[in-house]
């Protein structure tokens, strides 16, 4: 066996030389980088709006500076505390539930002996991911309808009593939100773990078998360590998205009775920035910046923890 790292040309040479040697790959990289610059980095300049009073006639750069006024406005609003609290509650709850479930699911699926059955399950759980949010929320409402839905009908069948309207109870909002999310994304999120599990060296399993390990022990000592690096990176990525609660889904699921529990930062930004008759882009941007800052802190924290635990993080 030759040592692969040494076979690579010029690992210690200058960057430019390395680029020339592998120019095809770098050429392909141009496109994604361009994409990131145009759609992610350039718009970031617009964040200055958070510190300005936006005036369409003067444009983004010509508008007047107002310092931290927009932030002050947000924090003095009666909604800010509710909104921040809801965002954190729902996103952390969502993270705690929907992060481990795909891993457990993938491990169980991997332990299954019948190959055909496994494939069927994988496909079936994977399908909900492709349902659009609007349809998804419609489905949830239909199923949970207290009169004609699956929930209402079953409840009536079992107890003979009319079911309580669970959509009317705001406290249940977060559960409905999170668990319908689990239903929709578990199959999709599990794919990466299933892939990682297929990559596990079979000789390890054989060795473990010879040593007398049972199925559970092999899962504990072979499978889990094998997917741990993947899992930690996925965790960091998931934390990076915590504050970006899918606003479409929340907005669609809102009703008069759950607003106290369902208004999150992203829906509030939408209402302030676009939906109200008087649009205030600056305030929206300021709230968005605050959101990103919180998220940034969470992300750095998660990355640091991951690095501490198993030496692999994203940066």
């Amino acid at each position: 066996m030759t040592n692969r790292t040494e076979a690579l040309p010029g690992n210690n040479k200058k960057l430019s030389k390395r680029i020339v040697a592998r120019w095809q790959l770098y050429l392909l990289l141009v496109l994604p980088i361009l994409y990131l610059i145009v759609f992610s980095y350039v718009p970031m300049g617009g964040l200055v709006l958070a510190f300005k009073k936006y005036n369409a006639a003067k444009g983004i750069w010509g508008s007047q500076w107002v310092g931290l006024d927009n932030f002050r406005k947000f924090f003095s609003s009666y909604k800010s505390i509710t909104v921040i609290k809801n965002t954190l509650t729902i996103s952390l709850y969502s993270l705690v539930i929907s992060f481990p479930i795909p891993i457990i699911f993938a491990l169980l699926l991997n332990a299954m002996i019948c190959d055909k059955y496994r494939k069927v399950i994988q496909t079936v759980t994977y399908i909900p991911y492709f349902i659009s949010t609007v349809v998804m929320v419609g489905l949830v409402f239909q199923v949970l309808d207290s009169r004609n839905g699956l929930y209402g009908s079953l409840y009536h069948l079992m107890t003979g009593m009319p079911a309580a309207n669970i959509l009317a109870d705001g406290r249940l909002f977060k559960h409905i939100y999170v668990w319908s999310g689990v239903w929709q994304t578990t199959g999709y999120s599990a794919i990466i773990y299933i892939a990682a599990l297929t990559g596990v060296d079979q000789s390890l399993h054989e060795a473990a078998k010879i040593d007398g390990a049972n199925r559970l022990q092999r899962m504990m000592y072979v499978d889990i360590p094998a997917i741990l690096p993947t899992a930690s990176i996925m965790l960091v990525l998931a934390v990076g998205n915590t504050m970006n609660l899918g606003y479409e889904k929340v907005l669609l699921m809102q009703n008069d009775l759950n607003l106290n529990y369902s208004e999150v930062i992203s829906t509030y930004v939408y209402k302030v920035g676009l939906a109200s008759g008087i649009t205030n882009f600056s305030l929206s941007t300021a709230i968005g910046v605050f959101n990103s800052l919180v998220n940034f802190v969470l992300l750095t924290l998660a990355n640091w923890v991951c690095k501490r635990l198993n030496g692999s993080g994203i940066f």
Partner: protein
Amino acid sequence: MCKVSKIAAFGLASVLVLTSLASCGGSKESGASSQSGEKKLRVGLTTSSMVTDYEDNYFTNYLEEKLGFELEFYMLPADAAETRTKVALMATSNEDLPDVLVVDGHLTNEMILEYGSNGFFMELDDITKDAARMPNYNAIPAEDRKLMDKAQTMADGHMYSLSAWEPETWNLTPNRMFINKAWLDKLGLQPPKTTDELKKVLIAMRDGDPNGNGIKDEIGVYGFSGGGYGENTTAALMNSFVFWNGGGVNGGLALDKDGKTVIAPFVSEEWRDGLRYMNDLYKEGVLSANIFTDDYQTFKALLNQDPQVVGVTTAGSLSNWPDVINNANYAEMLFIEPLKGPKGVQYTPYAEFTPTQELMILSSTDKLDMAVKFADQFFDHDTSIIERYGQEGVDWTREPSVLAEHSNAYIAEGLYDKLSLVITSTVWADNQKQTWRNHGPRYAGLEMGNTTYDFSAGKKFDPEDTSQLFGKNYKMYYDKHPQKVLPALKYTMDEAEQIQDQLTTIPDFVKQSLAEFVTGMRDVDKDWDSYLKMLDDMGLKQWIKNAQTAYDRN
């Protein structure tokens, strides 16, 4: 072999890069033709997906012939938010601009004020007064023109836009109440006239199993609070206690009895009585919490469930009962007047007709005379008809012999003598190139709207037809509101900014609290003070103060 794959890789990569670059540069061509032809007026026009051709379009050709010059289009998106963005970008870039904008009412008053006061839109105060320049506009009956002028005047006292005046009565009072007549007959009851009678009727419906299936599945009062067209039954019931427009216009603010003071009806004792009443119905099990949680699909499904389960509902559109003429569930329903409350209050959610702002002239234009002539043409009587209905003789007719053959619901109710127009084609429902689909200013008085008959379906007016409610609605609902109603307010930029937060949060909070009080999540007696305190903390006073200032300026 290696060489070939290298070349292939380079080729592939460069193709990818090039295509991405090419797609960025594609949109420059549209403006190139603007320099050609000095006799062309450049119109920024909000498009409609149902218009298939704007160049070879009956209305375009008609206008060009009337005006004596050609039109060139600068297409704006059909969507309101996209149009706003596009106009904002125009104002920022100040390049390659059209001469006039026709925006289908997509710009808010605040936007018009902003672009008008900073000189992007031309001020039209003097031009509209000049009968020589705008003969058609000045020919509009003075009473209506005054209202149009008022609607066009922004918070700084100037006019930057021209509007479409096309009042009608059907859409102004959408909370039409229906009660299940079949159930009433079965239980031997009369249609309720007051809130107390309604309660008795509902309880009888709850206990009497009027749909005859042996299960207690009757819903008393049903509706859908998120509905935008009269489906919010709680708003209709609240109006038996205090006038509330439903929260749409001005966030639900109203005028006091004196017709001068702006008040918030949702902090009044009457409001509290209304909450008590609805909470009482809820506790009796005859008002469903589903009103607050159901979406439009569920609402419609429940209305049409077999056997019928709905006793009372409100709805603006009869399309909630599909195929309404043959719909068995609708056949059981009876259209009734708004209910009288214990203090004799009998209102319905109502918002004054507000003309939409349709046309602006850009200050940068060098063809002002043409632009003014173009704008004025829309107020011509025939043009106003053609703009909306299409070509005479093809899409509509005013042939006396045809008019005499038809009637409509207003005439059947004795409100008018005869028709003025019969629609003969389905141009409004079709993809077509006959009109711009009513984009543009317009003048069509109330009488004109009420004396047309839509014969496009080939079905003559039948006075027995229970789905023909226009006339009844006019009689039973149109005047059920206080004499003076708060018009849609126009705030100055400063005022708007001060109450931005209130405008977003208070109307939501009011609706949310209404739901909570009615369903008993909050107690009307115990939690009322904290509700008031909450509104106070949210800045209700400031909002009312600014609304008063804006109203007084009017």
